[in-house]
Amino acid sequence: MADEQKPEGPVPSAPEGQGTPPAGPPKPAAAAHAPPKPPPEMAATPWEGDLPNQIRERFGDQINACSTYLGQNFVVIKPEAAVPLIEFLKLEADFDYLVDLTAVDYPKRAERFELFYILYSFARNERLRIKTMIADGAKPATAVGVHVGANWLEREVFDMFGIQFEGHPDMRRILMPEEWEGFPLRKDYGILKQDDRWVRENLGIESGQ
């Protein structure tokens, strides 16, 4: 398949270069070396099956999308229903392992943060992503009550993005120093930016840059 990345596609010309003009219906072998496909768009297709139907039935209009993309299933849901959905999946669909919980900042959106949970089920050998959009300052509910492992992951999301989780037992920074000002993984936090006061007071230098 790497051959497909070459713009000229010279490989198929070798067997055909016998003087016969390329005519007639294209052979399957030639089709395999078609010109490079345009880059895939984020065109997700609806996710079909028992589980997505159960989710649609149970959560109804709180679901914004229940789709699949490149073989990865995901559900986009309203923030208040995210934790109930994760609990439902854990108790009734064997999604017993929270692989990751993190966020992405899209500063131009009205609800700028996309918070997402990656779940895995050992019994089904399946992964599932739960996504939810939240505005700056919104406080999504904690998932610690469902998955203990969410504790540190939510602290990291708070540390990096400034998203506070309602009901979290220990909502403190986890990687950055506790007194640090600012949230580094927000897109408006430049790569050279730092907490100057903290650097001066704790490292005794004017700037680390």
Binding site: A2, E4, L70, D96, G149, P184, I191
Partner: protein, 272 residues
Amino acid sequence: MAETTFLDSTELVLNMGPQHPSTHGVLRVILKLDGEKVNGTECVIGYLHRGVEKIGENRTYQQFAPYVDRMDYVAAVSNGLGYCLAVEKLLNMEAPPRAQVTRVILTELNRIASHLLWLGTHALDIGAITPVFYCFREREEVLKIFENYCGARLTTHAFRIGGLLYELYDGFEQEVKTFCDSFLPRVDEYEELLTNNRIWVNRLKGVGILSAEECKEYGVTGPVLRAAGVKWDLRKAQPYSGYEQYDFDIPTRTDGDTYDRYMVRMEEMRTM
């Protein structure tokens, strides 16, 4: 009412680190001690935080590839594979079969090297100094193969998005075969030093037990989960890079303590 002083308090709060003597990864632990018994800990884990996500925001996909090597410098090849597979998935493409096989060979060698570093330093931390020399002897052979292949021993940047940078060099096959043939007796040597050693067993048995349920709750996989009795390996569960074509066993144990985690990793070195 009797007067109490701080001497009557049974709990002592002690700061350990971040300059821990075995600085394999800098960790600060705030310990709550009752004599020699640890009643509680609070971990401060940010000392190795380098903000690679922020760096990634400012790099192209190709430029970012060398950074993933440094996320775990004893598993640089494996990290590179994970990163390349992720970007290739976004591009909706696959590496050619030959590149996939090369990737598997190098990744498996890296897995062995990583296990060897774990074994050597783990034994060192427990108080056995000898094994580390044996482990590093074999690890050196793997690192030499990496060096011959791509010029680097640790942060290899061995793979490229879409395949490889280099074709395998002449003599690669022979070197890998020689290593594989000589390696199994070497694992016997490590086991002779440790597996039935009374001090080793006493310090590992029943320590740090994590049950299968706790592993899943806290998001722990790999040898730790397998030591708790779950026969699960990503290479089997969701094969990538052609792993479905290879026949290998998943070693498991049942107790979930440090000794079983040791045994699982030892058996993993035998199944390659």
